[in-house]
Homo-oligomer: 138 residues x 2
């Protein structure tokens, strides 16, 4: 029922020293693949960790980023969003509700770094946008 130890080990793989807070945040990310914002993470954990500070959530995610344990999505104009899934996939953001969804099974060519651009590309981000089905009903 409690996979505190699993998450603990997961953090160590990225050479992140596991504190209670870091473990809780990583545990949340592993279980909630919704590309949450800082605020969503904080609001979700806060009830069961009343002393948790939002600054800690910021610090923690910046650390995870540095260590390569998560990626930051730059797709939402309002907030930064975080994704533990480091595999090749794209995202769809609904312009109405703001929810971000994964898009898997795209051709791997899409994620190739183009040649002869004059830039040494480190990272590729493919973002789609539109209105999601549940918002269309409204």
């Amino acid at each position: 029922m409690n996979n505190y130890l699993q998450t603990h080990r997961y953090l160590l793989q990225y050479s992140i020293k596991p504190s209670v807070q870091r473990t809780a945040v990583m545990d949340y990310l592993l279980k909630n693949r919704t590309h949450p914002t800082i605020d969503e993470i904080y609001s979700a954990l806060s009830p069961s960790m009343p002393t948790l500070s939002k600054t800690t959530v910021y610090n923690t995610l910046n650390l995870f980023l540095e260590k390569g344990a998560v990626q930051q999505l730059v797709i939402d104009e309002k907030n930064a969003r975080y994704d533990i899934d480091m595999s090749l996939h794209a995202h769809f953001i609904c312009k109405q509700c703001g929810k971000v969804h994964d898009i898997f099974n795209l051709k791997p060519e899409l994620f190739e770094k183009p040649e002869n651009t004059g830039f040494s590309i480190q990272n590729v981000e493919i973002s789609y946008s539109g209105i999601c089905n549940s918002c269309k009903g409204n």
Copy 2:
């Protein structure tokens, strides 16, 4: 020497009523293909238009967006950036200096909307990042 009238006509094509401020902003965008931020536009125009307000620049670009005369790039975590080039192209952002560059001549397939994703995709944005050559020297 002055293409005020050209820009004037350009705005009308997008059914934007051309005021002095709107014309100045559009003129700047047409001549500076650097994906400028609001602040960059304001700072550039402010000396020759001392009464210009930053709010007007915000209003103007939101109007241009609505009318489809520009696209907003969500690639820079810090600021929104604007691009009058509506053709199919991608962007590269330097993680160090933050400058955004165009990447043209990519395969058109990259910009196709994938099928059977469960979302009706309206827009495709391809963003590359890394360190640009002039920053590498430092």
